[in-house]
Subunit: 364 residues, 2 copies
């Protein structure tokens, strides 16, 4: 890839442009917002595209615009002959390609894309050339998609340091509804109920509720846009969730009001959902695709001083043990915390011993 | 406190006994399961209580039995005159004290308690003297509770290294329903839906869904017991949650089927819940009671080798910066990850600079 056009210089568009420019690709930028495009150019993301176009079509044009504007941006770019191939980077894939077909656009030169990366901040100033490094980047070719468009998009993904994952557009939309959009709302609704928490209830909150509600801190306007573009698929997941929830509530009421006792081996309702929860967690890959269940937990008590974590990790490193994951648990009003290290099960006993030898309080 | 009796030598009872023994308290142990009580004694948790009792009443008896058995254990212990004061350590507080009153027991010498600590494992072998260190320990005195019982319980909490939090029994039950029991089910139900995730959907799962579903990996039988003992309060929270969920689904359907567009400033339904989610998250304290929003995020790209985290934390320590919290994000199939450090906002720019100087890829 020698030349590229990036239409839309927000967070994602500017980050793509920075990554391509860093690899020596000549990038031309355009945005309706002149401030945004000038900011992106000043960051080294590329140079401004002239209104009359680039003269020669670029190797690839990246349409970094919201889902509802992808098809119109594609129509406009194809009319101007901006590039030989086109892709987009928005979070929903079925709508844009259906719009493009409905408008009779050239869909051989177009392939949908969705890099699974983002930040809390937005706009070109928040952009980073390494935003996509190591993240999955879904590509959604259809029967119409030409080989050149697929390969240009794969090159883009590679230049951005991402891992390409090929999916059908509708399959992608169902997948993100299930693994991103529905979890966001499930979390937001739980967090919303915490508005009613008493001060004492908030004091005794532990790591569990913090984890469940972390993503509920996301920007409401951004999420409204994301959820609106995939509303049907998200509603499908949440309706099934609501059905399961109703069965659980009915079981709880039966226990509370009639003193019913549920057999731990029951397959449905409350007990069934607790069990299915176990299986569902196991389906989500942990670090590097390995199941999380494969790690052993080593809980260590640490003090609250600069360098305490460094000392702990240095001790783990000295023991030759790689830390796969970790959590920090906080103590209300005390200068002490609990760090749980997740490591290879074979390495856990040795690590616990070595840490204890060095004076750490290991709870495992 | 010079003498204590611990009835029930599972994980929590044995951990309490270990903590008291370590502080020189003479602890007498009892459990229906002779293997469990012998194991606890062999770990140094105390000595076996003779069937005829201790002769002299102990300063405090800790009833470490399930919620449904607290009142009968209290009746039995008082009949035998085992101690001058009594407390329990189970996860629900309204039921046991109501049972005790209904049985006409002496409630002046009894105070309910709930240490908010636990492990994935159970039984005396999983016990640790430091299990409760730095954790909140709720005490639920009623109008009947005598001063001596309150002070003995406070001494117990202090000897276990915990932070006492005094609450009304019903208030406690509503609080744990909201901040522990309902979030567990919300998480389990989301995880249960992931059973239907395609392999590709699981591959593109990010840190968000992992956080939301982490606690769903908990033991279903243990959670069935916990939820059954607080079923009414949990059902109350979940019914309100289900109502909010229904409104969100209706909004999503209106968008999907009728192309409705929601104003970002709307106060109810989808938009309202996203906004309330923000406020709810802010109510949960971060580390040491400080709001999490007070920290600045410093995202750093790291390689997957032993010692990488140690090098990173050593660099942070050398910069004199205390890491308040952190998350690790995983990359599918790549030997690289993203660690986000949460630090004092004043310290963040300096830390980013120092890390960049030392060759780290800092994304903030």
């Amino acid at each position: 890839m020698k030349t590229a056009v990036v239409i839309g210089t927000g967070l994602v568009g500017t980050s793509v442009a920075l990554a391509l420019s860093r690899h020596g690709v000549l990038v031309l930028l355009e945005d309706r917002d002149q401030d945004a495009v000038r900011t992106a150019a000043s960051l080294g993301a590329g140079t401004l595209l002239a209104p009359e176009g680039a003269g020669q079509p670029a190797d690839l044009a990246v349409l970094a615009v919201p889902p509802a504007h992808v098809a119109s941006a594609l129509a406009e770019a194809q009319r101007r002959g901006l590039a030989r191939c086109y892709t987009d980077v928005c979070s929903v894939k079925g709508g844009p390609v259906a719009d493009a077909v409905a408008r009779g656009l050239d869909t051989a030169s177009y392939i949908g894309g969705h890099p699974l990366a983002g930040r809390e901040k937005s706009g070109p100033l928040a952009a980073r050339a390494d935003l996509f490094e190591g993240r999955p980047w879904v590509l959604t070719p259809t029967a119409d998609t030409g080989r050149e468009a697929l390969n240009r998009a794969l090159e883009l993904v590679s230049l951005c340091g991402s891992v390409p994952v090929v999916m059908d557009p509708a399959e992608h939309d169902r997948a993100v509804a299930l693994i991103s959009h529905a979890p966001h709302l499930v979390s937001a609704l739980m967090a919303a109920r915490l508005e009613y928490a008493t001060e004492d209830a908030a004091r005794i909150a532990g790591q569990g509720v913090r984890d469940v509600t972390r993503i509920a801190a996301g920007d409401p306007e951004l999420w409204l846009e994301i959820l609106s573009a995939n509303a049907g698929a998200v509603a499908d997941v949440l309706e099934e969730y609501a059905g399961d929830l109703g069965a659980v509530i009915a079981d709880l009421r039966a226990i509370a009001d009639k003193g019913a006792a549920l057999a731990p081996e029951a397959g449905t309702g409350l007990v069934g959902q607790l069990r299915r929860g176990n299986s569902g967690v196991a389906r989500i890959p942990g670090k590097h695709g390995a199941p999380r269940a494969a790690y052993a937990a080593v809980p260590v008590v640490i003090g609250d001083a600069p360098g305490e974590l460094a000392r702990l990790f240095a001790a783990a490193g000295a023991a030759g043990v790689n830390i796969e994951d970790l959590t920090i648990e906080h103590s209300p009003g005390q200068q002490v915390g609990l760090v749980t290290l997740y490591v290879d099960p074979d390495a856990a006993p040795g690590l616990s011993e070595r840490l204890a030898e060095r004076g750490w309080t290991v709870q495992a």
